[in-house]
Every structure is written in structure tokens, then in C-alpha cells.
Amino acid sequence: MSADLNVVGQSVERSDGIGHVTGRTRFFGDRSFPGMLHLKMVRSPLDHARIIGIDLTDAERVSGFVRALTASDVPHNLYTILGLIGVEPEEEFVLAEDRVRFKGEAIVAIIAESEAAALEAVSKVHLDLEELPAVFDVEEALRPGAPIVTSWGNNTFMYEGHPCRRVRLGDVEAAFERADHIVEGVYNTSPIEQAPVETTGCIAVPEANGRYTVYTNTQALYFSLDNTAIILQVPGNRLHFVGGTVGGGFGGKVDVIVEPIATLAAMKTNRPVRFAYSRSEEMQVSSTRSAWRIYIKDGISRDGHIIARKVTSYADSGAYSRQTPYALTKHAANAAGPYAIPNVSIDAYCVYTNRQPTSAMRGFGVTMASFALEVQMDKIAERVGVDPWTIRFINAYRNGDMKPHRKLAEDATLIETMQAAAALVGHVLPDDLRAMTSAPRDAGPDGGRD
């Protein structure tokens, strides 16, 4: 810690710690309001189907049933979460219209006096569905003739006319020609659940002044408020979002799924409405981390320098893209790793399938790149005949290096971090690696390479 700082750098006791360990921290779910109703969703039992009909007759007879909402009740039913930062097109339905694209997709919202009544009414909604062929694998979804999930004729998110986010630096094919070694790998990762202790949820409360207060555990209050205003076509000033401590997010609470429909339900009933995911909804319906398939081809010189890296990545977005297009962009910017590689080509595809949608999760597009690259680095070390530390040191990026996405490296400290880790575990580095720093390379005919 710097000597001229007083409290930054000190382990002061966390201001909310006592509340957390004594159970007095208030979460959204601790609130209750007189007359509060409960919302539960009728969900698609099929992975891909045309909706022929919805019969609410038996559901409406359930004691405690208040009302149902379908797609036609939602003012702006087709939306995209990232529309707020200019991402197009609008592609996801708050409530399904003519087609369901994944098992678990919301079709009808049931509002009832109790959670039990809502669940009973949900079980009595009769759906007439015509099953459609479905696709579940990122590469199968790209083959000609694959079932089409989207409304625009192919299964990729389009990046300004390209089916993938591209990064190009130098000429990888020419560098592969002159490389002494080629190392290729394909890496697969499973979708996983953010698994916060507190499931996603909110309570929307009509106020006497015509506004709606929404108590929510979103990770991004204004993001949720602004999207809700768009979906409900109301001025933002009619909405008041209140958060607080969130019981874990890990990216699982940035999708704006519960607030718009709960607020609509509060508007239609003029009563407080609670909509909270069960654990099974959290696991089977709400977004997970994407499954990834990452192909890496590296060209390496005899002395261990990576001279070319080509990465083709597929992230399984599921039926809707949510935050995944953004994750692919972040992935593409980092898919060459913290290494100085003069020739790089990256194609990162956001692919639609008939799976549960995927979205943000801790490490957003980078975690899976780090896994694939760091396993690949060990394979390269083995091929070249050096140890895992050496291969990373000789390829480590330094300040002033041009990264593949044409950002000059600043704040690079990979070398120093590896030196500290080696010291921590008692791994003795040779003198030349111990003497390295992340300081800018000296200019020279070889571009300052070692």
C-alpha cells in the first residue's frame, strides 16, 4: 500500500457484513405487500414447435386465478436486451407468439392469489403445439438444411454483414507456410449455471401516484428500467426500480426477464405482483453460460515463438442471443491470449440453436478462451521442447505491443505476475526469464523480439 493513502488499502470491516451473517440484510424476497399476487409461467414442453392454440378455460376455473397474459397483452413484445446500446435486430419475445424455440420458453403468464393457485392454473392451460425439427449443436446449426431458429434465414448473429465477429492482423496463412511447427486443438466447454444462492426475481407494486415501484435483484437497475419502459411503452418516469444487496449474480441477473412481465401484471391488476424463479427455472429456463467449441491452429518457430494463431470459435447462444453477441466480441478481442503474435485471424460465431438461451456469466467470453489457450500453450511447449513457463515468457505481451484488435498494450504485467507465481511455488526460473519485464521492447529490425 502506498504510504500516502489513509483508508484505500486497508481491510476495513465490510459495511454490510454483520447484516449478512445475522440474516438481517434485506433482499427483495423479504418484502411482502397487502394483496400481493403471484405470477407463474406456462412454458413450452417442446424444443421447437408452432403454436396452434392456447386453451385457458380450465385454468380460469382454478380457485385463486386472477388473470392470464399472452403475447397480445404486451405492448412491445419483440425486443432485444442490448437494443439500448444499439444492437439489432429485435428478436426475443416476452411471451411467445406463433412459435416456441426452446423447451421452457414462456407462452402464458398466469397471475393468481397464491403461488400454489398460479402453479395449479399453469398446469391446466392446454397448449396445442405442432412439433418442429430442432437443432442442438453449434456446428450442425450452421450446416445447410439445418432447422432455422431465427426469423432471418440462418442461425448466426450477423455482425455488420458478417456471420461472425472477425479480428484480422497480418497474414496467418503465409506465416503457417514458414512455421516450423503447427499445433492444432479443438476445445469444448459445457454450459454451466451461474448458480446464485438467490434466484432471479422481483415484485412490482402500483403506487397511488400512478407510478410503479419494482423491487428487483437485477445487476443493472437502469438497464432493467429502460428495457421495461420500452417493452411496456411507458415513459421511464413511471417506473422506480429499487435494488439492494443481490444474493449473487455472476452474470445471471442482467437479462431483464422478470421485471417487464411482472410490471405489466401489476398494471393490469392494479395489485402488487411477485415473479420469482424457482431453482429449476433458474437452472432449466434462465440463461446459462454458453457451450463453446473453439478451434485453434498455431504456427510456431523453432525457438518457440508463436508466429501465427487462427481461432474459430462457436458459442451456443441457444434460442435467443441476449448478451451473447457482446460476449463474442469480447472473446474475439482476447482470443489470441496475453501473447505477442504478429499474425492473427479470429472468427467468433454467435450461433442460435433450440437450446435454453445463454447469456452473460463471469468471465464473459474470456474464461473459455483462457481455458483453450492455456491448454494449447502447454501442447506447444511440449512440441517445441521447452517447459510450460518458458513458452509463456518468450511469447508474453509487453507494453506497447500491438494486440490483434489493434489496441496498443498498456498495463501489461503478465511477465511480472508469472515471476511472482514462480516465486510463490518455489519454481526457480532461469536468469533470462527472471530478468524480463513488461517494459516496451527496444525498437530494432526484428521489432524488438527476443
Binding site: 489513509n6 483508508v7 488499502g9 481491510s11 476495513v12 465490510r14 459495511s15 454490510d16 449478512h20 446500446i85 453449434v138 455488420e160 472477425r166 484480422r168 459445457s190 454450459p191 454451466i192 449455471e193 448458480a195 437485477t218 445487476q219 443493472a220 437497475l221 437502469y222 438497464f223 417506473l239 422506480h240 426500480f241 435494488g243 444487496t245 444474493g247 442482467v254 437452472m283 457451450a291 466480441t329 474475439a332 478481442a333 496475453p338 463471469r362 468471465g363 464473459f364 474464461t367 481455458f371 489457450l373 492455456e374 502447454d378 501442447k379 513457463w389 509463456r392 505481451y397 484488435h405 489493434r406 498498456e410 498495463d411 503478465l414 511480472e416 505476475t417 508469472m418 507465481a421 510463490l424
Partner: protein, 336 residues
């Protein structure tokens, strides 16, 4: 059959923050009559301790004790705009907004003190403990709390500040991918040690030892908490978790924690770390951000350690006992 030990390493960068959409954070600060300062935000605390570190940053900039800061978060009627708590961005971006707001509030405080003490603003200092004084003249010292009260009751002034932090939106070039998508780069290097039971395919992680370069630690205890949690999460990701055990098949997806595997406390390995502080040029007091990356480097380090232990390369997460046993079988067949 045997228990085989192996060691693996991994080194990663982590780009913190995002600005493909601009991603601003804003903060407001005002003094109460008793000389406390209320920091108003709409950013949410996810349990990582945002309220605490923001209070520390505000106290540091204002020159008052941490206990004098009240952080009021997560209300869109009272807190100014914030893009959200994600991308390891909150300490960095909200912190910068809070420094800006606290600097303006501090200036307002010094302006009142300048009149009250009949001294030039440049000659005044605040000592970090709530005392405001003429530099080098300890006898001419007042409490910040007294100036805050005088501002309201004698001078009719507000002691307040506004702060915003935004890195301009970066437009990605669709042909080359040229972009500036982040705030700064944090780094980690992890060495993992595992033991693999070749009879059952089970992996025991013995230790996860890491170095992290985080720019600046605001609160070392909270940094340590992130590291412990991240080590657990990375290990869980490497060895246990999946919502689609046989991707692309859609069956066998879990519904609750009895079907969704995660390590428990008994599986928690030794976690040791060292922290490097090499301040970033654009973070509050040099902060880079830490949250997400602590879960990243343990994953490849563990997978590399399994290879080192067994000779089985598994390029597919999670590395389940089934995959290890199949790999050992394939290796035995290949050599026989």
C-alpha cells in the same frame, strides 16, 4: 491402480470493464449537517463488497474517516445513472465517478473553510481523519464536521459533488476487429496441484497457488475473499459443473443442487496467493478490477495438472471421472 500427482500452470490477462456501449457510471455526494457524507449511486452490490470499497474511496478522496461515509445504492429515484455491476467494472468505474464527485465536494468544503479560517484554499489541507487545517499551522485546525454545519447554517451553501466516469463508446471495425473494448488489463498466474485416482477417475485438487496483479487493492480482505471464491468456482467449472452433461444432447439437465454437481467445503484445496500492485493509469488510485478473473486461471491450470499426472489430455470441460477413465483406457489400448 494408483493415485497420480501432477502440477499444471496457466497465465491469463483479464480485460476489465467494457465500453462497446460507453458504459458510464455516475455518483453524487453531499454532506449532512453532522459532517457525514452520503454517496448516492444506482449501482448494485452483488455481495462482493462494492458498498464498502466505494466508501473507502470516498473517504480517501474527501480526507475523512471511513465511518463518516454512508453509501446509498440501488435506487433509480435517488441514485444517478449506472450501467450495472458486471464486467469487473464497478470498483474501477464507480470508483472513478466517486473520486470525481468527492473532489468537487471537497472543493466546496475548502471554499467554506477558506472563508471561515480566512486562509487561501491552496493553504488548506484535510488530514484523512476529518481535520481541516492551515498547512503547517496545527493551531488553525477545525473539524470537517464543523465546516459542514457552518456551510449549512451560517453560509447557506451546499457541500456536494457530482461525478461521472465514461470511456467513449468503441465502434468495432467489422473487417479487422479493431476496437478498444475495455478499461485496463489485470493478470493472473496459477499453479495447481492435483491427485488423480486411476481406479475411479476422481480428481482431488490439492492446492491452487496464484499471483494476481490487480493495480491496487482497495480492501485486501475483500480481495482475498474474491480469490477464495474464484478458486472454488474455477475448480468447480473445471471438474464438476454442467447443465448439459452430454452436449449436444438435451437430456439429463439438472433441476436443483442435488443434480447439479459442485464441490463442497471438504473438496476445497489449499488456496494461497500473492498480490502485485502495479497501478493502472486510469483506475481509481490505480485499481484495475479483480472479480471475474479469479475463476479463470485455475481452470486450465487444473486441466494441465491432470495431464501432467496421467498423460491424458482432456480438451473438454468439465473433466469428469468418466472422461479420465476413458482417456486412460484409450492410452492403455494405444500402448498395448
Amino acid at each position: 491402480m494408483a493415485r497420480l500427482r501432477g502440477t499444471g500452470m496457466a497465465a491469463v490477462n483479464y480485460p476489465t470493464g467494457m465500453n462497446l456501449g460507453g458504459d458510464p457510471s455516475q455518483a453524487l455526494i453531499h454532506a449532512t449537517t453532522s459532517g457525514s457524507f452520503v454517496v448516492s449511486l444506482s449501482a448494485t452490490d452483488l455481495g462482493q463488497g462494492l458498498k464498502t470499497v466505494i466508501g473507502q474511496i470516498a473517504a480517501e478522496t474527501l480526507g475523512v474517516e471511513f465511518g463518516e461515509i454512508v453509501v446509498d445504492t440501488a435506487d433509480t429515484d435517488t441514485g444517478p445513472h449506472d450501467m450495472g455491476t458486471f464486467a469487473s467494472r464497478a470498483t474501477h468505474r464507480v470508483g472513478n465517478a466517486v473520486i470525481a464527485a468527492a473532489t468537487e465536494a471537497r472543493q466546496a468544503l475548502l471554499d467554506v473553510a477558506s472563508e471561515e479560517l480566512e486562509a487561501a484554499v491552496e493553504d488548506l489541507e484535510i488530514d484523512g481523519h476529518g481535520n481541516l487545517m492551515v498547512k503547517g499551522v496545527p493551531s488553525r485546525s477545525v473539524r470537517v464536521a464543523d465546516i459542514a454545519a457552518l456551510a449549512q447554517f451560517k453560509y447557506g451553501r451546499t457541500i456536494a459533488g457530482r461525478g461521472s466516469y465514461m470511456k467513449p463508446k468503441s465502434i468495432v471495425d467489422p473487417e479487422t476487429g479493431a476496437m478498444d473494448p475495455d478499461s485496463t488489463e489485470a493478470h493472473a498466474c496459477t499453479v495447481a496441484e492435483v491427485e488423480v485416482d486411476t481406479e475411479t477417475g476422481e480428481v482431488t485438487v490439492l492446492s491452487i497457488r496464484s499471483a494476481y496483479e490487480v493495480g491496487r487493492q482497495v480492501n485486501p480482505a475483500l480481495v482475498a475473499g474474491q480469490i477464495e471464491g474464484g478458486a472454488w468456482m474455477g475448480m468447480s467449472h473445471a471438474l464438476y459443473e454442467t447443465t448439459a452433461p452430454y452436449y449436444p444432447a438435451v437430456d439429463h439437465s439438472p433441476r436443483d443442487f442435488s443434480e447439479y454437481l459442485m464441490p463442497g467445503t471438504l473438496e476445497m484445496p489449499i488456496v494461497e496467493s500473492v498480490i502485485l500492485e502495479m497501478p493502472s493509469s486510469n483506475g481509481p488510485y490505480g485499481v484495475k478490477g479483480l472479480g471475474e478473473m479469479t475463476a479463470n486461471s485455475p481452470i486450465p491450470a487444473i486441466v494441465n495438472a491432470i495431464y501432467h499426472a496421467t498423460g491424458v489430455r482432456i480438451d473438454e470441460l468439465p473433466v469428469t471421472p468418466e472422461k479420465i477413465l476413458r482417456g486412460l483406457d484409450a492410452m492403455a489400448h494405444a500402448s498395448s
